[in-house]
């Protein structure tokens, strides 16, 4: 499974209307997508849910990265499709579940791609999550690319000593990861200690009443997004209870595998 999958969740600084939205509004939007995706099993609805996100991706100027994350999720998507087919789910439903997976993954990927860890932290702060939790979260996210570089360096260093990660039987391959994991863990620990020292030296935890020099403010566009989400949810409920959806019938039967 390619690491490209993770790339789709990485924030990139860019000036787009989506990036400028308040993270709270974006989060409500993502949750809206998530909820609606879970409500339906109809393939047409799920396809619509997936496609409707594309203009957003375009607005966020993140098409290439979004495509890469979709490609990264292909493995899991195909896995879901096959597993469903194996256990007897009809083809159309299996496809629907796969599309649902992509719709959900896409909406979360979209959220993380357009929201910086800092803004996330601010959002958490302003909804009164304890500072130690929001800080831990922000720092963890901030450290992901740093740790990724560390991981690559460790792999490089050990390969330079003759370690071959792609050879050997299953057991040997697992054992080959020991020289990778240990330096990684130790590096992470050393880094944490250094960070902690620096934090202490900046009076971290001095008072409960922290000031925040930057605060998030909801603007018109943010309220619009929230209203749109509520409207979308209302529509979804209406469709769920009152509308008979067209189903897709295929002209052939999938052989049952079990």
């Amino acid at each position: 499974m390619s690491l490209r999958f993770v790339e789709g969740f990485k924030f990139t600084k860019m000036d787009s209307p989506i990036h400028r939205l308040d993270p709270r509004a974006k989060f409500i939007l993502t949750m809206g997508f998530f909820a609606i995706s879970l409500m339906f099993t109809n393939i047409y609805v799920l396809l619509v849910l997936f496609i409707v996100q594309i203009p957003g991706v375009l607005l966020a100027k993140s098409v290439a990265r979004w495509l890469r994350s979709m490609r990264g999720g292909l493995f899991l998507g195909v896995f879901i499709l096959i597993m469903n087919l194996i256990f007897g789910t009809p083809l159309v439903s299996s496809l629907a579940f796969t599309i649902r997976f992509f719709a959900i993954m896409s909406s979360f990927s979209f959220f993380f791609m357009t929201t910086s860890a800092d803004d996330l932290g601010l959002a958490l702060d302003q909804i009164h999550v304890p500072y130690s939790i929001s800080f831990t979260f922000t720092t963890a996210v901030r450290l992901v690319p740093t740790m990724a570089v560390d991981a690559q360096t460790v792999v490089d260093a050990q390969r330079s000593r003759g370690l071959e990660l792609d050879k050997g039987n299953f057991v040997k391959r697992i054992r080959n990861y020991v020289p990778i994991l240990i330096p990684l863990i130790i590096s992470a620990i050393r880094r944490s200690v250094e960070l902690a020292e620096a934090l202490e030296s900046r009076a971290f935890g001095a008072t409960e009443k922290r000031t925040a020099i930057v605060t998030l403010r909801m603007r018109f566009a943010d309220y619009l997004v929230i209203l749109a989400t509520i409207a979308g949810l209302a529509l979804a409920f209406y469709v769920y209870f009152y509308v008979r959806l067209p189903t897709l019938v295929l002209p052939f039967q999938m052989p049952r595998l079990f």
Binding site: D156, S160, G162, E164, P183, S187
Partner: protein, 280 residues
């Protein structure tokens, strides 16, 4: 010999890190690759053992195109020592740490034991044989990392910033050790921005700036050229600056360390003030 032919490199969807680099390092040479942070030095040395393959051009190590060999195969002859020893130390004991690579390369167990013992002695690490590498000091860990690479006796030794975090005595010891490696016929390539250290070693210096080689020659020539030094975010060795200041004494242009400066000044001062009896 290690040679790069018109090598360019970029990571996927990022700008070029190396641009048409042509470099030849003969067997037994001592080369320092210098340049500002981000110039591409580390990227370049990772090509020498195949960790990175050029996106354009070819790298040849001992006549073999690196595209055609795995990292393990190339590492047999090219030992790459990374900057931070904590990125490679993992074993329970220092001896195990040294045995790791030998076992990866398929050495027989009795040879492994012999080589490990010899290497521990060579780098003054005998007393740590059964210690965990993690309890050693920073300088000692750096020595263990060095030993772990040299233990399989690679023909070419590449060190990435070997002097960071070292005090003067440790650097002195490192310098002597490099001299030893050269006398054993090994090729030694160091990446460093420690100008004074390089000035005292006097290797061939290759200056990289923004992915291109901007200068290549003896340390005495390169480190005394103000324009290239400036471009690579380096500073001239203090002794060179001193010699430049003492223009009236007409010093030769290649004095970059205290010992050569002393030789020169001894003559000049004796001539100026008459011979002095040496203090004993």
């Amino acid at each position: 010999m290690i040679s790069t032919e018109n090598v360019s490199f970029h990571y996927p969807s990022t700008p070029e890190v190396l641009h048409e680099v042509n470099l030849q390092i003969k067997d037994g040479e001592f080369v320092a690759i210098m340049g500002e942070n981000g110039a591409g030095k580390t990227t370049l040395i990772k090509m020498f053992n195949g960790l990175l393959k050029p996106t354009q051009g070819k790298v040849f190590v001992d006549g073999v195109d690196t595209h055609e060999r795995s990292v393990a195969q190339l590492s047999r002859n090219v030992g790459l020592i990374f900057q931070n020893p904590d990125h490679q130390l993992f074993a329970e004991t220092v001896a195990d740490e040294l045995s790791f690579s030998l076992r990866n390369f398929g050495f027989k167990e009795d040879i492994v034991q012999r080589r490990v013992t010899n290497m521990l002695t060579a780098l003054d690490l005998d007393r740590y044989k059964d210690s965990s590498p993690f309890v050693l000091s920073g300088g000692e860990r750096k020595r263990v990392a060095l030993a772990a690479i040299l233990v399989w006796d690679p023909k070419h030794v590449i060190m990435d910033e070997p002097t960071i975090g070292q005090d003067y005595l440790q650097k002195d010891r490192l310098r002597n050790f490099i001299v030893q490696l050269i006398s054993q016929g090994k090729t030694v390539v160091i990446v460093s921005h420690d100008v004074e250290f390089v000035a005292e070693c006097k290797p061939r210096v290759v200056l990289l700036s923004r992915g291109r080689i901007i200068a290549d020659g003896p340390a005495t020539e390169i480190l005394t050229d103000p324009s290239v030094v400036e471009q690579s975010s380096l500073v001239m060795p203090q002794i060179s600056s001193l010699m430049a200041n003492l223009k009236e004494l007409e010093p030769p242009p290649d004095i970059i360390d205290a010992y050569s400066a002393r030789e020169f000044l001894r003559v000049k001062l004796k001539a100026a003030i008459g011979a002095q009896p040496p203090k004993r």
